[in-house]
Amino acid sequence: MAIKPFKISVPEEQINDLHDRLKKTIMPSEIHDAGWSYGPTNEYVSKMTQQLLTQYDWRKAEARINSYPQFTTDIDGQTIHFLHIESKEEKATPLMLIHGWPGSIVEFLDIIEPLTNPTKFGGTSEDAFHLVIPSLPGFGFSGPTREAGWNNTRIAHAFNSLMKSLGYEHYGVQGGDAGALVGPEMGRLAPDNVIGIHVNAATMGFIPMGPVDPKDLATFSDAEKARLGRLGRFMSERFGFNSIQSTRPQALAYGITDSPAGLLAWVSELFTEYGEKVDMVDRETFLTNFMIYWFTNTAASSIRYYYENAHDPNAWTPKENSEVPTGVAVFEEGDVAIRRYGEQGNTIVRWTEYAKGSHYAVLEVPEVWIKDVQEFFHDVRR
C-alpha cells in the first residue's frame, strides 16, 4: 500500500469556472420577510457568493492546508487523503481526528498546533499527539466514491488500516458528527488497537431509537430534557436533508454539483443552525470548507454516505460494546447525546457537559474542546 505525499493544487481554470458560475447564479424566488423559516435566504446566499467573488482568497487557504504534511493512499479500492502531523515529542499519542458531513479536515486546522505542540501553549509534553486527519471516503481530497457500500463499517475498516500502515499499533480516535459514528465502529473492529474513543456532536448510538416513554421523562435532568426537545424538533422540522440523502441522493446531487450557490445554500443550513446562528462558524472557515467540496466534486458522493448507512443491513441491529474507553463531550447549545443511551453500547468512562458550544465545538470553543480531548486521553493512558 503506497502512501504518496500530496499537495493541493487547484488549477486556475477551475477557480475561473467557479467565478463564472457564481456570477451567473439564478436566485430562487422567496417569501418576503420569511427569514430562514423556509431555508437559506437570498440575502445570505448572495452575500456569500459576493464574498467568494471578491474578498475570499482560495490560494491563501490552499497554502495554509499545504503547510501541513498531506498524503494519499489507496485502501479497499478507494483513495484516502489525510494530513499526518507528527509531534516533535516522539512518545506522543497517535490520534485520528474524524470530521463529519458537511464538514472537512478544515475544521481541525486551528487545533493542530495545540494538540501536537502542547508545551508551546502552556501544556505538558505528555499531552502531545501525533495527528492523522483523514478526509472521509467520498469527501474532499479522498475523491468521489465509485462503489456502493462505503458505510460506517467499511470506513472504519479503512481507517484502522490507515493507522496500521503508518506503523501505529495503539492509537486514539476523536470524531464529531459522522466521526462520532465511525470512531466507535473503529473500536468495535480493532479493540486491541484503539486505546480510547472521544466523541462530540454524537447522535446515533447516543440517542433514543424511538419515542421516549412519558413516564420516564421525570428521570431525565433538565439538560437532558432540553436535548430531547432539540432532538424532537430536529426530527420533525429539520430532518429532511437526512431523508433525501438517505433515500434519493442522486436526485439532489445534480443541483449541488452543478451550482456553487446550490451547494453553498445546501450546506449552510448545517453551519448556521438553520439560520438561527448565521455567524456560528467563521466565514473564512465556512467558505474554505465549501471550496473543498466544490473543487473535488464530492458533494454527490458525500451525501451518498447517508444512503450507504441507511441501506446497511446491520444498521438497526444493536452494536456490541467494544469495551474501548469512550469519552463523550456534550456541547449544550447543539448536541443531543444522552448518557443512558450511550451506555447501552459503549463503555463510557467520561461524560462532560459544556454550556457553550454547539455542533461545531472544535471551531466554536476550541480551548474547551482541546482540554476535554487532552484530559480524556490523559486518563486513558494512565
Binding site: 505525499p5 516522539e90 506503523g167
Partner: protein
C-alpha cells in the same frame, strides 16, 4: 580524481555503512550491487537537498553525476526493511522521495528531517520509532550464522520478504565484493578467485561481469564494498 569518497561505520544496528561522495568533475559512476538498499541524500550545486531511495541492485547501473554535487548514502543491513514496501517492490527500485519542505522529506506517510553526514543515526532511529523501518532478525541471524538450524525454505521467505533477493544471490554479491577488494589490494586475479571462494578464474570473471559489470583487470572504480 573525479569523485572523493569517505565512509564510516555506524553504531546503529541497522546501518551497514555511511558514505559521503563529493563529485569533483562531471562523470558516470557505475553503481554496483552490494546487497544493501540505500537512502541517498543528494546535494546539488546550490546546496539544495533531495532524498532518493534505491533498492537492492541486481545489476550494475550507470549513475551520471555533475561537478560540485555531493551525496550522502546510508546503506542498510540485509535484515532491515521498510514497512510499506515488499522485498519484491524494493529490488532495483530507484525512487525520488518528495521533499515536504527544504529540510524535510516524506517516507511511508511520515515526515523526516533530511540528515547531515554525521546525523544519519537520528534519522534512522526515528524511522525505527515510527515503525517505518523494521528489522527481520531471522535474516540477520542467518547471515551472521547465529541461527543455523533454520529450514532453508523458511529462511528464503524472510530474505525475499525483506531483502527482495535470495540468500544465495546475496552470497554471490558478497563474494564478488570480496574478490574486488582483494584485487584492489594488489592480489592477482587468479589468487583473488581462490581467496574469495571461486572455483577458478573464469568463474570469478563471469561473476564480476554479471554483478560488477567489469572484468578483473578493471575494478579500480568500484568503491561501495
Amino acid at each position: 580524481m573525479s569523485q572523493i569518497h569517505d565512509s564510516r561505520t555506524s553504531d546503529h544496528p541497522l546501518i551497514e555503512t555511511v558514505w559521503n561522495s563529493k563529485n569533483i568533475t562531471d562523470g558516470i559512476y557505475i553503481a554496483t550491487p552490494d546487497g544493501a538498499w540505500d537512502l541517498i541524500v543528494m546535494i546539488d550545486t546550490n546546496g539544495d537537498r533531495s532524498v532518493m531511495l534505491t533498492g537492492q541492485a541486481t545489476k550494475p547501473t550507470p549513475v551520471p553525476y555533475r561537478a560540485g554535487t555531493e551525496s550522502i548514502v546510508i546503506s542498510f543491513i540485509p535484515g532491515a526493511y521498510l514497512n510499506y514496501l515488499s522485498g519484491e517492490e524494493m529490488v532495483d527500485l530507484i525512487e525520488m522521495l518528495p521533499n515536504f519542505d527544504d529540510s524535510h522529506f516524506n517516507l511511508g506517510g511520515h515526515t523526516f528531517e533530511i540528515p547531515a553526514y554525521d546525523e544519519v543515526e537520528s534519522l534512522v532511529e526515528k524511522m525505527v520509532i515510527t515503525g517505518v523501518l523494521k528489522h527481520d532478525t531471522v535474516v540477520s541471524d542467518v547471515l551472521s550464522r547465529k541461527r543455523t538450524a533454520i529450514s532453508p525454505r523458511v529462511a528464503q521467505r524472510h530474505f525475499v520478504k525483506t531483502a527482495g533477493i535470495t540468500q544465495n544471490y546475496l552470497m554471490q554479491i558478497k563474494r564478488a565484493q570480496d574478490a574486488v577488494r582483494f584485487i584492489q589490494r594488489g592480489e592477482r586475479p587468479i589468487d583473488a578467485a581462490q581467496h574469495a571462494g571461486y572455483s577458478d578464474q573464469p568463474h570469478l570473471a563471469k561473476s564480476l561481469k554479471k554483478i560488477m559489470g567489469s572484468s578483473p583487470s578493471d575494478v579500480d572504480d568500484i568503491h561501495k564494498l
